[in-house]
Symmetry: C2
Subunit: 458 residues, 2 copies
């Protein structure tokens, strides 16, 4: 079993080093976790060529994971810039990173990212295949397999393959308001229509499984027909593809290849729970890896927020991993600030869902920061914050604004005694309420003096 | 009935001008809306001294409303700055604004805000009362009533009164991790403990109702015991107070005073629906006006996001109005940027909830922007965005980053033909994918060429 995959090892009763690492991180009994991996309900994306990887587990009963997409496009981005995005994503808590690069030096950048990354790296091989031909329709099934094999040898931990989108789904996609918004889905559709042939990822799925088996690449079964707007959510095209993804999950498991399933996209709040339930049923509880979903289409510039709402709900109702969306979604390629904003918004969504799901210990950090809050222990609050830098920065900004006001008051009028007193104790309140009207300060006084001398009763 | 309140007018079958305005805005038959106002399920906060007000309706069956808090504290903020915050809040879509000022010139600032505001203005009178005495315990019931009367005469449309927090609730509050985090609640508790007397807002509630009746001030029954962290959510103290709020709703309706009920605070995702249901039951479907709720305690600097998640869920499950939370929550007083960030995050939450609730027409804007998106009509997308300025700004930023990269490429190597071609058609894709891998561009080609010449079939 030297070259066995994680699911094969688990099925034969072996507790692999990766599995033991995950069990410890999740505080699960290893044997319990082994059963989940063996059943395919948890995946551990860990290509055996990805050195220095800290393996993680992805499954609905584990802590919710988040993914950050990086990668240059043909017109923007550089080698150093992408490594810096990886660093930022990991610093703020991304559990995996997908390199969606489509620009120049695509292979070299991927190599550098793999060498630098302690977290699993995912890719979408059809992007690289499309970059190697002049027109997408020039791609051959052989080229796609070559690219998959090359990336598997490089050490890519999981790959999105859009094998569930079939020719027969195209009429349903044509009826939509927005058609096909998945890049891989649109390219595949273009190829199928031009050649009047079935999706090569579907017809050559066994060849893909062979490659994945050799290197233990986890397949992320892409949803090429994910809805691109609320009007297209939960439609015929989306669920027709989901049915095929369920079939492919079973083929993966039979072949000993780990698999997860990708999901929408744009979905209104009231359809999220049903979408999570349906995937679980159709795909035999394979880990669901969802993009957002954004719950409104009309907030470009804020889609990290619009989608964090959907992501929190999705994770609570069963999604195992959340693919972040940044403020640049629908507008351009995320820069370093966007990567940070997206990652933190998704840490919030994942964390809120873990609390709602009752993942043991998930509320500890919240209780600790609340205790620090009533102690006015600002340093402890910053240390416990999901983004300590931002909390520190906003508090500093507020204190500066306060100082500027006091400066003005000092030069225009006499400094009040109050101000002097307030400065002396500036730790025990914030500029939101000031000291006299600080509820926590007032409540502390109440607690310290529970039994005042009796006066006249009401 | 010259001085009748909106609920009294509705109960006598009169369709007031304010009601007709609301009916038109909500696209409701006036007679149907009248029944809701008469029953107290919709309130129309419209003080008869607030000139230039555009009345709005607040109720669970109407479009979800959002409120923005502004107001200086004793140590920060100025007259001009507060008027600018009002302007920003209204520009980005706040339906009401609360002036929580506690600093100097508090009365003059409120007057200026009322004169400038087309949206209903709310206040928390106990703040002003507390500012007029050296120690909170020096406040008298008479002073509180004076302040309420003065603000009612000024034209304040709705007031938060913490009349539901009773002496007998304090032992439950003492058991909490964070105790009392509501400012009004903490000040009231301090007063009750010091004087060993019942809450003056409760003992003098009939006097408060008399004032509200004279000027048609809507009461917003404050939750002084709202949980300040997840650990305290849905506890004995919170629900004990809710029971009293239900009693006060009935007293308001009996007196002909409009009333809404304020709600939490900090609540985990999985308790939000039950909180909404419970308020509806206990308070006879009085409009629920909730603060967030934030669904995790550990994200200072991002609480507009953490709470927008909870707010969207709350509104979907029945909250009528959402009080925004800004990124500065728990850190300091919001500045102009924070007000904008908070308002837009809450417009998103309210909008997503309205779509989920099936409010007629609520998805129109989303469908329109999606159509603009597939047309690559950037100007239409900006115009339909909840924050056009931000969308424009981020798109411009992305194009600038692209130009900078091209500049570097031009100076270090020959410009590729591709780049020139891409520049020429820069409207029909974004820097996220570039032109070749733009799904929408690819799908357009598929749509324009649905029946290519047949080749060899698979």
């Amino acid at each position: 079993m030297k070259h066995a995959t994680q699911i094969q090892l688990a099925q034969t009763g072996i507790l692999s080093p990766a599995l033991l690492t995950v069990a410890e991180a999740e505080q699960w009994p290893p044997e319990e976790l082994r059963k989940e991996v063996a059943a395919g309900r948890v995946v551990i994306p860990a290509n055996r060529h990805h050195h220095h990887l800290s393996p993680i587990g992805i499954g609905r009963r584990l802590r919710t994971k988040i993914n950050a997409n990086i990668g240059n496009s043909s017109i923007i981005g550089s080698h150093e810039s992408e490594i810096e995005k990886l660093r930022i994503a990991v610093k703020y808590g991304a559990d995996t990173v997908m390199d969606l690069g489509t620009g120049s030096e695509i292979g070299e950048i991927r190599r550098a990212i793999l060498a630098a990354s302690p977290v699993p790296i995912g890719t979408v091989p059809i992007y690289h295949a499309a970059c190697q031909v002049e027109k997408m329709t020039d791609m051959t099934p052989e080229l796609l397999l070559e690219v998959i094999a090359e990336q598997a040898e490089q050490g890519v931990d999981y790959m999105t393959i859009h094998a569930g989108l079939l020719r027969e789904h195209l009429p349903a996609a044509r009826k939509r308001l927005m058609g096909i918004v998945s890049r891989g889905g649109a390219l595949t559709a273009q190829w199928m229509q031009h050649h009047q042939k079935q999706n090569p990822a579907y017809t050559h799925f066994d060849d893909i499984l062979d490659i994945c088996l050799r290197h233990d690449v986890t397949l992320s079964l892409g949803d090429g027909l994910r809805p691109g707007c609320l009007a297209d959510a939960s439609d015929e095209a989306q669920f027709a593809e989901l049915g095929v993804l369920g079939e492919l999950v079973r083929r993966c498991r039979q072949a000993g290849v780990q698999a997860m399933v990708e999901g929408p996209g744009h979905i209104p709040l009231d359809q999220i729970q049903e979408n999570m339930r349906r995937e679980r049923e159709v795909c035999d509880d394979a880990p669901f890896y969802i993009l957002g979903p954004v719950v409104a289409d009309c907030a470009p510039g804020y889609d990290h927020i619009t989608s964090a709402i959907g992501a929190a709900l999705g994770a609570w109702h069963g999604a195992a991993m959340l693919c972040y969306v940044t403020p640049k979604e629908h507008l351009g390629l995320p820069n370093h600030r966007d990567v940070r904003d997206g990652v933190v918004a998704y840490k919030i969504a994942a964390h809120a869902a873990d609390i709602a799901k009752g993942i043991p210990g998930s509320r500890q950090r919240d209780d600790d920061i609340s205790r620090a809050r009533i102690r006015f222990d600002w340093e402890a609050q910053f240390a416990l914050a999901l983004d300590p830098d931002k909390a520190r920065e906003l508090r500093a900004e507020s204190l500066q604004e306060q100082a500027a006001v006091e400066q003005r008051q000092t030069t225009t009028a006499a400094t009040s005694e109050n101000n002097a007193e307030e400065n002396a104790e500036s730790h025990d309140y914030c500029t939101m309420c000031g000291p006299k009207l600080c509820s926590m300060r007032v409540f502390r006084e109440i607690q310290e003096n529970p039994n005042p001398p009796l006066r006249n009763q009401t």
